[in-house]
């Protein structure tokens, strides 16, 4: 499904300094997996997710989606891929402040040019109901708690029925209860057949994964033993 083949990514900070957050990574993610990549801050986890979504292009190696090289795709092809196949859960607050909860959730629908017939607000409301936030559909993001905002972001990631959800530290700024709640939701989504690729610095979350990896200095290493929750 999603494959990294000897992928490296360099960033040139200035004329003298180049950093390589991802070094020669090879990884295959299969449909229905719940893959967690852990590691400390600055080890290249987010860059790896950005490579997976085609948000950045690899300096060397290939990232493929069902054998299609993301590096060869045009901007509009990548946009279509992200609209239809990928759901995003960001580490930072990513709801647009000028839009209500319901409007934020339907945003990805705007870019699905081939599917304008479906009732996007109906679908969004359905997802919000599952998340337990139907009563807050008309409020603005700043009126929500951090946990509620995260649930709205997860709702948004599901609006186009994606094949994979890419989640970057989805529980980083949440309390323990909300963290469990969010992870429970991701697990539930995964059990419905949606692949999850998630990065976290918290080792406590590894038991939720079907496969887990550790990233250190840009290198990826599979964790073979995962302690149960």
């Amino acid at each position: 499904m999603l494959s990294f083949q000897n992928v490296s990514k360099d960033f040139q900070l200035d004329s003298r300094t180049t950093i390589t957050p991802v070094k020669d990574v090879t990884l295959d993610i299969n449909p229905g997996e719940f893959v967690i990549i852990s590691g400390r801050s600055g080890t290249g986890k987010t860059t790896l997710l950005n490579l997976a979504a085609g948000l950045v292009k690899p300096t060397s190696g290939k990232v493929t989606w069902n054998n299609l090289d993301l590096g060869e795709m045009t901007d509009s092809q990548l946009s279509e891929l992200r609209t239809k196949k990928i759901g995003f859960v960001f580490q930072f607050p990513s709801l647009l402040p000028s839009f209500t909860v319901l409007e934020n959730i339907t945003l990805p629908k705007m870019f699905d040019t081939k599917d304008r017939t479906r009732d996007s607000f109906g679908k969004a409301l359905e997802t919000l109901t599952i998340m337990g936030l139907a009563g807050k559909k008309d409020v603005y993001p700043k009126q929500l708690s951090a946990g509620e905002q995260k649930r709205v972001v997860i709702s948004r990631s599901l609006i186009n029925n994606p094949e994979i959800i890419i989640a970057d530290e989805p529980t980083s700024d949440l309390d323990n209860n909300t963290e469990k709640e969010v992870m429970g939701l991701l697990q539930k989504i995964n059990s419905g057949g949606v692949t999850i690729l998630m990065v976290t610095h918290s080792l406590q979350l590894l038991p939720f994964a079907t496969r887990a990896f550790e990233m250190e200095g840009g290198n990826l290493k599979e964790i073979t033993r995962i302690a149960s929750t």
């Binding site: 948000l55 950045v56 409007e103």
Partner: protein, 397 residues
Amino acid sequence: MRLIWFAFKNIRGSGFRSLAIFLAVMGVAGFLLATTLIIAGAQYSLNSGLKRLGADILVVPAGAETKVETALLMGKPTNIWMPQSNLQTVADIPGVASVSPQIYLNSLYGASCCAVSEMFMVVYDPATDFTVTPWLEKNLGRQLLKGEVVGGTYVFVPQNENYLKLYGYNLTLKGNINPTGTGIDQTLFMTMETAQAIAQSSLTTAVEPLKVDAGQISTIMVKVSPGADVHAVAQQILLDTKGMVPIESPNLFGTFRTQMSGLLWGFFAITIIVWALAMVLIGLIFSTAANERKRDMAVLRAVGAPKNFIIKSLLTEAALLAVSGAIIGIAIASFGLYVFKDAIASSLKMPFLFPSIPSFLGLFSAGVAAAIITVVIAALIPAIRISRQELAIAMRE
């Protein structure tokens, strides 16, 4: 439609920034239209005045050119004289199709015998006239009788009166000719018979009686034959007559046109400066806004927005603000100009006639289009820059 909705939501969400752009566009568009309208209004006014006079050449006593121009342009009464025999001399010049004399008179200033103060009066010859006669034929169906007058658009009979009293003589106002924005709007047109009756009345009612010399005229209105060269005819008049100066119709109000040209260049320079500053200001506001929304735009890109959506959404925001700002700015400027047109014309010492509806709508549309183009250009660079940003970096900011 979704793009407009999206842009509208962003406009509402960034109230202060949107207001700043809206006000900048409103001010600039309003200023631009106001200056254009003043210049166009002055031009329109001059053309209407010239059309009303109906002459190809105006022959005036030498040295009286400025007085005649001021009288016709601003309605400032004047007394100029030349022998009536000049009429035949001019009529005999090859290329002249018809001539008609006019006599310029004025009522007294603040005199109790006159209902209106310092009224500019033009006496015309019904047999040869082509200034008022076409209007009379169309609107009255006959020539003016003794005691009847036609006024410019601002001439009116005082309230609770039936007549316009001049030098104790009652005049019946038979109508008002269309506005020209020039002194013609404050002028009273009458026949020689009426002028002589007023002069007769003035002998007993005024300390300074009105003088109408039978053998004297003020100006000669000349129409050239079809196909004749107006300039050549004017030159011939200059050569064949003494003490007279021909003014070709397009050159009439020449002094004023020179002043107006200076004013026009001044307005033009100020407009360019204001416009350029506004463009820089709007560009900076959009740049700041684009920077503030870097992460939001990166999120949009991550959830599937193509680069061109980012550009289009920012440009749509710009266009919506430009349209609304320009429409409101132009509407306020137009309304202000319409209401205060007389005060503006008098303070700028220039004639002004509000342009016709089609011309005004043309200016209105051009103003809105110019505002859209300007604001969209100002927003284009920040829009392109934000669409090309490195998403991974933007999401970390």
